[in-house]
């Protein structure tokens, strides 16, 4: 019996959300009196995988099959299922990412496991039950869910738990083969198109986000958002009306039918704060709202606010950040 964690890698690095998954999995293993093993997916690098020891991982399984570099639903599912059987994993932890959800849902059927996604805390295992807390109602509530059966799969919400770092500890990296065949790669992508990442900060993984709404008046003014984001090391985002009129690309749209994010800091510029927008950002730890309308509903959900013109306020903020650094 063990805990298996799925770590997503890109360009040789373990993603931040997967460090959280590794740390979470190691803590679950400690709760259950066992050890945590990781299985790497994506473009991994053995030396970086060994550092997962810092998150409490004992062993990392790595299949060097080159076609695993890109996300392939069937191949990833088989890889993880094979690792889970080998390690006799009772609990599998993955990120609540597009990859984690696609694979986790298939795995739950294949391994006859109960599945909880969008999980925000460590499980409670007292009283013979296995209970996890997860986000529901688009961030407007939480639910405690009892997972029945012998096997559980947990998809951990990004930035909801902190990854522990115990410097110097290393994990054993073991080569692993799931004996994947051509048939497992039948649904492989014919093409992968990555976004142009100005500044290199990916919105779903970002700790800080600067976001603009219709109050920005047009795409030509986005330089103000980008300048502040760059100074803060933040990603940029936008509201639905902004992506609907193509001022900004759809992958920047946060809200009920866009991306849901939970960064440490969310700065909303010229966004009134419709309930559908709040659904995408209301689990952010600190929310700052800048709006010239003091009646904007967003102020009710904010921790800090400035009633003022974004065109006047944003350059001041950028200057203040630069001064501080």
């Amino acid at each position: 019996m063990s805990v298996l964690v799925v770590v997503e890698c890109a360009d040789g690095e373990v993603k931040k959300s997967s460090l959280e998954v590794a740390s979470y999995g190691a803590q679950v293993a400690a709760q259950l009196g066992t050890t945590a093993t990781a299985i790497a997916v994506g473009e991994a690098n053995a030396a970086n995988l060994a550092t997962l020891g810092e998150q409490g991982i004992a062993k990392v399984l790595y299949d060097a099959e080159p076609r695993l570099k890109d996300f392939v639903n069937n191949a990833y599912t088989k890889l993880i299922a094979t690792a889970a059987e080998q390690e006799q994993a009772k609990v599998i932890v993955l990120a609540n990412s597009n990859i984690g959800a696609a694979v986790g849902s298939r795995l739950s059927v294949r391994l006859k496991a109960s599945l909880a996604t969008n999980v925000v805390e460590l499980p409670r295992t007292d009283g013979g039950q296995f209970v996890v807390k997860r986000g529901a109602f688009s961030g407007k509530a939480f639910s405690d869910v009892v997972l029945s059966g012998d096997r559980k799969i947990i998809a951990l919400k990004k930035n909801s738990t902190e990854a522990k770092h115990e410097a110097g500890k290393t994990a054993e990296v073991a080569s692993f083969s799931a004996q994947l065949s051509d048939a497992d790669f039948a649904d492989a992508p014919t093409q992968v198109v990555m976004q142009d990442q100005a500044g290199g900060i990916l919105l779903p993984e970002a700790e800080r986000v600067v976001s603009g709404g219709r109050g920005m008046k047009g795409p030509e003014n986005w330089g103000l958002i980008e300048d502040l984001a760059k100074a803060l090391g933040a990603a940029t985002a936008c509201s639905k009306p902004v992506s609907d009129v193509d001022w900004r690309p759809h992958h920047e749209h946060v809200g009920q039918t866009g991306i849901t994010i939970s960064p440490n800091l969310y700065i909303a510029c010229g966004i009134s704060g419709a309930i559908q927008h709040l659904a995408g950002v209301n689990s952010s730890k600190v929310i700052v709202v800048i709006n010239k309308d003091p009646e904007a509903p967003f102020f009710k959900a904010a921790d800090y606010g400035i009633v003022g013109d974004v065109f006047d306020v944003l350059p001041k903020l950028t200057a203040a950040v630069k001064e501080l650094n």
């Binding site: 597009n98 298939r106 509530a141 014919t190 990916l202 039918t257 102020f299 606010g305 400035i306 013109d309």
Partner: protein, 246 residues
């Protein structure tokens, strides 16, 4: 091409969420229910593809009790041809997936579409479970879907980009923007929806694997701290020294 579009019945997006006094159930009193907004992308795209092909059918499927029928009729008014309701409260994602898989198998559907997730449970699970139960590919979440004969080309969103994926029917896709502009019913649609077939079938399969023990609301915000626009730079100091987020 036979399309099966799965819709769920969810509280309207502007609903204030409350629970029953024991916190075990969502309080439905006075709440307006709508078709899950993500599912509207699946429904509209299926209708568009059927219209473009000039043949085929769109069946809408809901797992729910009789009170979901107004929204099933709304889906028929938007342009689905017929509907199936599995007569059971949706217990969890696994239970719902079992119902969808059984209906899909029985009706030999070619394309099974649904929204990325429901805005109440936020599971993002059903698509993969159905695909696995039927042994067919799943593409989730899909931002674009085109069909040419039995071959579909989809864009799947991944963190930081997208994958172009080609699959043959049958397959499952969970849909999201910007796949299409969701349609709203017109008067003719509303009139014809009344007489379109709506079949009610009993649930099948194993019981749910997960149960909700309790719901809770997030802790209340302390209230906003306002900073004078003239001294906007003070905000940055607060974010560093007080909130400690930069």
């Amino acid at each position: 091409m036979k399309f099966l579009v799965c819709i769920s019945n969810v509280p309207d997006t502007t609903t204030k969420i409350t629970f029953t006094p024991d916190n075990k159930e969502f309080n439905k009193a006075g709440v307006q229910f709508v078709i899950n907004p993500w599912d509207e992308y699946a429904l509209t795209r299926a209708i568009e593809l059927k219209e473009a092909a000039g043949s085929g059918s769109v069946t809408v499927l809901n797992v729910g009790e009789a009170d979901t029928e107004p929204n099933i009729r709304k889906a028929l008014a938007i342009g689905a041809d017929d509907a199936i309701r599995v007569n059971a409260a949706p217990q969890d994602a696994y239970f719902v997936a079992e119902q969808i898989a059984a209906v899909a198998k029985e009706g030999a559907y070619d394309v099974i579409l649904m929204g990325k997730e429901s805005i109440d449970y936020n599971g993002f699970q059903v698509h993969g479970m159905v695909g696995e139960m039927l042994g067919i590919p799943t593409v989730a979440p899909a931002m674009k879907l085109d069909l040419s004969g039995n071959t579909a080309t989809l864009e799947r969103e991944i963190e930081g980009g997208k994958e172009i994926v080609t699959v043959n029917t049958p397959f499952v896709a969970s849909c999201q923007q910007p796949m299409c502009e969701p349609r709203i019913p017109n008067m003719r649609g509303i009139m014809t929806a009344r007489t379109k077939p709506l079949k009610v079938v009993p649930p099948v399969g194993e019981p749910a694997r997960t149960t909700v023990a309790e719901y809770a609301l997030p802790p209340k915000k302390q209230g906003v701290k306002l900073i004078d626009a003239a001294n906007a730079g003070d905000l940055i100091k607060l974010l560093r020294n007080e909130a400690k987020v930069i």
